[in-house]
Symmetry: C2
Subunit: 447 residues, 2 copies
């Protein structure tokens, strides 16, 4: 006798929203959450209930509330309460608890106090106890905003008919080559962790014309700075049938404007909590200023009486200074720097016909930091082959990649945006590690 049951599709009932609670004055509500904080007063306690998205002020009067289980901070509870008007609360109401069932109670005290506005500890300690410190109101708001950015990017890209792809992270060759690549033993063969989905997204332009991916990438860079991670989330898109690399810039400006607008509409509480200054000029005008690399270099040198030490690249300090000049001159938090020197760009970068020493490529700087690299790619086989040979590369190592050039590719280009860098600059965080849930750097591989 076989006993078959039926599982009925059904999402679980979740907590009422703040709006629903506000509309339920003097009524009973049932909700669950963690006890974020208990503050004893005379005759009653303030209990701050931490739900998925809010901190809710509750009043606990011993004689008016039945408690089942061991109630303490970080206990998980299911509670019944009366929604009561209270003008002094930040919502205009509070909950008067009538019934508490403790579902689980912690064994240990929190090693770090997380229920203050800020966590009073070093970044190292905050990261060491990341699974717990993320329970802090402001810490978790950072990653809600990061979620909002991803949703905003995706909404825009889907609307513009980009197809989402999933490309492999274990690869046989680094897209950009170079030493900054993690090596892997793959069943006795050499393999690597992808530094970017570059080759794959180009391949997929031949299939869907416009593609995107939001996924991890890996860089074995030995930098230990406030702006480098060894694993980060890359927002990549690539598109065919462009007339110029500036089509990519225009698309990016539209994507950023759309995502920031989405944040403003859907993530207002988190933006307010973290006092986020949105880049208003982009939202208002849809414009981002653009300057050529060599001119930018000269401008910074002249404006700050600063010798340009390296000819073909920016130093971090120069990016900061350029952003400052642009902000002063135009009011923009962003600037496209275009026509980077060929010497500093990868082998697939299109060169400027009029001046092969520079490429049809760009970086986007946001508040002093490069957050995007992009450009037009070479789509003609003969051109690509010639450039690889000129650079001393062995084309036979790139056979499947070069097949797309041989078999026909439209003019195309794209970009990669570092999600953590973008989040950090948007929220004006000092260190990129603050914008990664569980950062990986040269010293840190835990938690």
């Amino acid at each position: 006798m076989i006993h078959l049951e039926k599982i009925q599709a059904s999402p679980m009932i979740n907590n009422p929203s703040l709006e629903q609670l506000a509309a339920s004055l003097n009524k009973q509500a049932v909700l669950h959450g963690s006890v974020h904080r208990i503050r004893k007063m005379s005759g009653f306690s303030f209990l701050i209930l931490r739900t998925a998205d809010s901190l809710i002020q509750c009043i606990l009067e011993p004689e008016k509330c039945h408690i089942e289980g061991l109630l303490k901070e970080e206990a998980c509870i299911r509670a019944e309460a009366t929604v009561t008007e209270e003008p002094r609360s930040r919502t205009g109401w509070e909950l008067h608890l009538t019934e508490i069932k403790v579902l689980s109670s912690p064994e240990a005290e929190m090693p770090v106090v997380i229920h203050g506005k800020e966590i009073d500890a070093s970044l190292e300690t905050i990261l060491d106890y990341r699974p717990l410190t993320l329970r802090n109101e402001k810490q978790r708001a950072v990653f809600k905003i990061q979620e909002g950015l991803c949703r905003g990017f995706r909404n825009f890209l889907e609307q513009e008919q980009f197809t989402e792809i999933h490309t492999p992270k274990i690869v046989y060759q680094g897209a950009e080559g170079g030493a900054n690549i993690f090596h892997l033993d793959y069943f006795g063969k050499d393999a690597y962790l992808a530094q970017s989905p570059q080759f794959y997204k180009q391949m997929m332009v031949g299939v869907y014309e416009r593609v995107f991916e939001i996924a991890p990438v890996f860089r074995a860079e030995k930098h230990d700075t406030a702006r480098h991670l060894n694993e980060y989330t890359s927002v990549d898109f690539e598109m065919g049938y462009i007339d110029s690399f500036t089509d990519i810039c225009r698309m990016e400006a539209a994507m950023l404007g759309s995502a920031l607008q989405f944040l403003r509409e859907k993530y207002a509480p988190e933006l307010a909590l973290l006092k986020v200054r949105l880049p208003e000029q982009l939202l208002e005008t849809g414009e981002i200023p653009s300057i050529r690399f060599h001119e930018a270099k000269q401008w910074v040198a002249k404006a700050y009486s600063r010798p340009a030490s390296e000819k073909d690249d920016f130093e971090p300090e120069e990016e900061k200074l350029l952003s400052r000049l642009i902000k002063k001159e135009t009011g923009s938090d962003f600037v496209f720097v275009t026509h980077y020197p060929t010497a500093k760009r990868p082998f697939y970068a299109c060169e400027d016909e009029g001046n092969p020493a520079v490429t049809l490529s760009f970086d986007l700087l946001f508040r002093g930091l490069e957050v995007t690299t992009g450009g037009q790619r070479i789509h003609e086989y003969s051109v690509q082959l010639e450039k690889m040979k000129r650079m001393g590369m062995d084309p036979s190592l790139f056979e499947s990649y070069l097949w797309i050039h041989r078999a026909g590719m439209p003019p195309h280009g794209g970009l990669g945006l570092g999600l953590e860098r973008f989040t950090a600059r948007l929220l004006e965080l000092d260190n990129i590690r603050q914008a990664s849930l569980f950062p990986r750097d040269i010293h840190r591989v835990t938690p």
Copy 2:
């Protein structure tokens, strides 16, 4: 004198949609795409234009069309044409070309013919030339449907207030432990590639209550079968405040129903092209049958007079036979198998209070294949510690993970769904490699 330009946010104008073209009879249209096929007839040619999402029948009459450049198959073109009624075309209209500009022309013939309905080549060859064979109409439709599944899952999870997270893929310890884990040299330290986001998603339940991630995971399994990949895309969710593991099953049934409905609405052309049989029963009733592991085992043994060789797990053949029995008995393409033996589940699996030999866990089988593993997790520190010791594990290796149990966690659980497996079963593909853009298996790490 500094030369600042302004980049104006603007998506590029894309091709008109099929609907827009159909509404433009006898008018001129401008569009771009690849020349998918040219068929010479007497006095004219059929030219099939491959755009991002369609194959469009065009008529090329030499004297009525100006051609600039070398026109051949797989050339990328920009074209002008008149939309002309044609009842024999599958859309009811076709394009009469008047102007063609060839943007790029291939250097080599396609190594595999891709413009037929199917590609007449072995799977090995199809995968060797994946960047090109994906240009085939049916091949690329597979991954449009996969995109649709991801969008459908995400839409549902966002609506149910799951927060999207990005967790590290370079980890210090495998979530499930065991030998099937890729090793990495991380700046002289030992590190591994994540087999699942298990620990991290549990940690994040303490932060947001409900979280999800769609991201790559890595398994160093030496299997060389039609259902294993060494890198795949895992759809993971985890949620707190559950009453029982069946809450997870109900949520999954709702998620699958919602995503399949989304596919039906938004991906009809691809579903029709691939003749996809949707699992109608789930769509109609929202129900999935459920059976306990040991009963399922017995049922299969009895129904097929088959000795149950391994006691605590299914053989692939048993999963197929069980699915067949369930289909016959209930009409369902899905079945939840619950209460897997404790011996075969990881250390964080909750045991059944009434019978600790089985866990509060489940697999979901879909058309003969396990596509999901899930269950309730241990949330109490003392219980988890005791179980780890019983299993001979060293808790000190899991310190940051165990902090969440010590500091308080709600009852919670979740699941992981293999995107490629799900796609393969939905489309009834023989081999999971057909559902991965660039599959990684024990022999293949290219392209």
